[in-house]
Symmetry: C2
Subunit: 399 residues, 2 copies
């Protein structure tokens, strides 16, 4: 039952929903949605893949599939993960209804009310909501430009290690900050995690979206670097490398845990859309992914560049922001005394929008910051939107 | 966390999965799966609908949609439900990832560990698993040929009314029994429910699949007959009227409750497949449903007829079965002293399979019964499969 944490979540969620609704007005220049640009959806590829399905595949697409996933997709996805340097040996891989469901399944299996879930601060709103819906207690560890703070993590270990059930991380092009862990930070983190029994969730939806091919080494998953004994659940998604509308993700992790997740999925939605899975398998097995990624990476890079330049050109003194090397997001920090909701209320008058910072704070409090997504906004509107927000900041009185 | 009830569920579930795996061997004549016949999937209709999508719809299909559902589908589905005699006034309708997710969402919102959920006995395995995953206590009320036993229900009310959180019913062409509530039973039931505060879930995936048009009055939903104040959650599915592979269902119920379910869905899978929803909307709005149903109803009716005749021809004395007027299932009852798992073990040697009765017993015990599904088995194999099972019954010693 959704009780105390849910009602806090519900209040925050309803405030955020109110702001998101305002941002959804088509006349608003919105940097709110964490979704691909419409022009970057693989409409033609899907047409082609659909047209080339065999009659057997067409039938399979309309029928139930195994809860663990459409077997040919499990196979083509395994090949993809192997190509990313991830060993599947001793691990179990299941298809989920988006990365969101993978997070929810691990939470359902592991979290008892009151258990500690440690996250980056700021962290992904959908994960926070899932953890809270199982009545977890959230502990946020600060994120700096190289990743989660190791002293910050050590402090939680020192004080509350026994109560930690999960550590949730999004190490590459993080949502909402755009931060990517440095190699040194990843190594220090893995060292710190060595021998720990709690489950680490590595959520990795954005890592294929680097702007510059030379940054490819940056996106190596923790799962590919870690010792096989470390209980890491590696979660990925087709949302940003194919399309969100398929609602497909995956969960790769220790066999026993993922088997329990499969059991939980059985009573959650029986299986993920087979239609989506048949198309995702065709997409991977026909080698369409690399070409698609090559076509979208420079576009996202250009959008990010325009946004970064606009921020540099128009933001008042005292405002800082991150420098993403991929993904969808830039994180803007205002002077301590300012409140992002008040800035939002100013900006929306002139029809620009973003997501306020406290949505991403595990404690739901810190709000002198906000998330800009450049992914969905048409290029030619980015500068204007940023200017409106800069103006709104100037017009917002301090608290 | 999945604990005590989950481990019971897990044990039963792993036994059932073991039997289902045996049944999945393609050389086995299987009456196990509750899924449409492959030849009855609307492959051509989907090709046609996909080909006719506008470029706007193609884009929408690949993008995120609102958690509550793709708005045009909400509209076309509302029209469909209205045509089924259901009033939407004061109610909230959301799209779910199959009927299974709708059951799960209501459970997530309502069930605290130890709460009572009352079900028919036998009842749908997927619902039982969902309730148990939230640590509900299950109470089964016997089902007779006219529906749930009213004295049986009264007994639970007399003894434990205050602890009841939910009543779960599948009144039309019930899974697993094939039983349909008589009009008199529905009225008696609604009278008994009048003024009760607990939530009634009416799960209604099969009602469009009557074999004979004259039976149409039988399939009127409780939701269409009940007073608007009665808290009934009406759950439906596209699995049997379009295709399971879309993974689409719906939940219609009291606004406040369904709003909470929407919030829970947000952290469960964010939204259901938009690709599926765009196609389901095209299917409904282009009027394809009635023609499809008209084409499959006689086929299911014929299959049921063959199975009923085969049962009459081959079953030994003391074995009884239900007479479905629609849907997918026949429920077979063996003499008290017999055990369906032992019959299964005999039948599978000769390559015929079904689902054992205790899978559907809320207490996981009663096993002198089993479910036959005629929906997925090729017509020409039904008689042979039933003969094998009849022979297996003859060869199974009593306990």
């Amino acid at each position: 039952m959704l009780d105390y944490s849910a009602s806090a979540q519900s209040m925050r969620s309803s405030e955020i929903r109110r702001l998101m609704k305002l941002a959804a007005d088509p006349s608003v220049i919105s940097f709110s949605g964490g979704m691909p640009g419409t022009a970057l959806l693989p409409v033609k590829i899907v047409d082609e893949l659909f047209g080339a399905l065999t009659s057997r595949e067409r039938e399979a697409a309309l029928q139930y599939g195994p809860t663990s996933g459409y077997p040919p997709l499990i196979e083509s996805l395994s090949a993809y993960l192997t190509s990313r340097g991830i060993s599947l040996s001793g691990q179990e891989l299941i298809i989920t209804s988006g990365g969101q469901q993978a997070i929810n399944l691990v939470s359902k299996v592991l979290i008892d009310p009151g258990d500690l879930v440690v996250t980056e601060n700021p962290s992904f709103i959908g994960a926070l909501a899932a953890f809270m819906s199982f009545q977890a207690h959230l502990v946020g560890v600060p994120l700096d430009e190289e990743g989660i703070s190791i002293p910050g993590l050590q402090k939680v270990f020192d004080e509350r290690l026994a109560q930690i059930k999960m550590l949730y991380l999004n190490p590459v092009f993080q949502n909402p900050s755009g931060v990517t862990y440095s190699e040194a930070r990843k190594k220090a983190l893995l060292e710190k995690l060595g021998g720990r029994a709690f489950c680490t969730i590595e959520d990795d939806p954005y890592s294929e979206l680097y702007f510059d091919d030379r940054d490819k080494p940056l996106v190596t998953p923790l799962k590919a670097m870690a010792s096989p004994e470390l209980p890491i659940c590696y979660i990925g998604s087709f949302a940003k490398i194919f399309g969100p509308g398929f609602r497909l993700g995956w969960l790769l992790g220790p066999q026993e845990l993922v088997d329990k997740c499969e059991l939980a999925k059985q009573s959650m939605d029986a299986c993920s859309s087979t239609l989506s899975q048949v198309l995702a398998h065709a997409y991977l097995s026909k080698g369409k992914l690399p070409g698609f990624l090559a076509s979208v990476r420079p576009v996202y890079g250009r959008k990010a560049g325009i946004m970064l330049k606009s921020l540099a050109d128009s933001m008042p003194e005292g405002v800082t922001w991150t420098q993403p090397r991929g993904g969808f997001y830039i994180w803007v920090t205002l002077p301590e005394s300012m409140d992002a909701t008040r800035v939002f209320n100013e900006a929306i008058k002139k029809q620009a929008a973003f997501v306020i910072g406290n949505a991403f704070d595990p404690y739901g409090v810190k709000n002198n910051c906000f998330r800009l997504s450049f992914a969905h906004t048409p290029e030619e509107k980015i500068e204007q939107g940023v200017k409106i927000i800069a103006e709104a900041i100037r017009n917002t009185p301090n608290r």
